[in-house]
Amino acid sequence: MFTGAEKNMYTIGRVVKRFGIARSTLLYYDSIGLLKPSGRSSAGYRLYSEKDVKRLALIMTYRDAGLGLTEIMDVLDSGNDTSVSILEKQLRDLNRDISNLRRQQQQIVRLLKNMGALKKTRAMNKDMWVSILRASGMSDDDMKRWHREFERMAPEAHQDFMESLGIPEREIGAIRTWAAKNSEQSKSK
């Protein structure tokens, strides 16, 4: 069916080369309706339009962000609100995974410590952190103020940072609640 239009179309081989993905991947995307080539050559070969190629570029981006194929389809074929909520969910999932990995990292540190063979982990703990703050002349009060300001300026980073120090969840919660309460008081004064 395609005659002159074929010039502006990409064969499956060109798409494979350009994106560095497997031919079978494209065939699979076609079969599940994620990416259907807009045309066929006179010999019946799949032909991808510029628009198809752009859609594939988006698919790859979302795949890099860890979205599943069903979610990618939802993001591509629905409005902005749905996309935002899918991406937000993905971000939450990632944050949860990071927390879990951190817990595992800290657990391994503890295990190695118990075995008397602590290797270089690059993981700080609370004592190490406090020791360098003290070395730079910070008092306990300064550290309290630091928590308050940290919570006020960047609550997520505050949480993330304390997790990286391996502080237990409950303690983090208590520190943040305290920090939030006290920073409001100091502001309202």
């Binding site: 962000a65 971000l91 990632l94 944050n95 990071i98 270089k120 690059r122 993981a123 700080m124 190490m128 020791s131 360098i132 703050l133 070395a135 730079s136 002349g137 910070m138 300064d142 103020r145 630091w146 300001e149 940290f150 300026m153 960047a154 997520e156 980073a157 949480q159 993330d160 940072f161 990286s164």
Partner: protein
Amino acid sequence: MASHNMTKEKWIELFSEIGLTEEQMHTWHRAFEKRYPDEHQAFLEWLNIPADDISMIRTESSS
């Protein structure tokens, strides 16, 4: 994608806010570098500081 939006600038602001002087911040970097060099590197990476800047900061901290 970082899970937080902390940056070097915000971190400095945070330290200034609680009254740390520039000299104290330098002392802090020096103590960090001297006691826990690998963790210092990891922390600077956490702030999303580019690799070149990190090595500069670390060189300055070890002087």
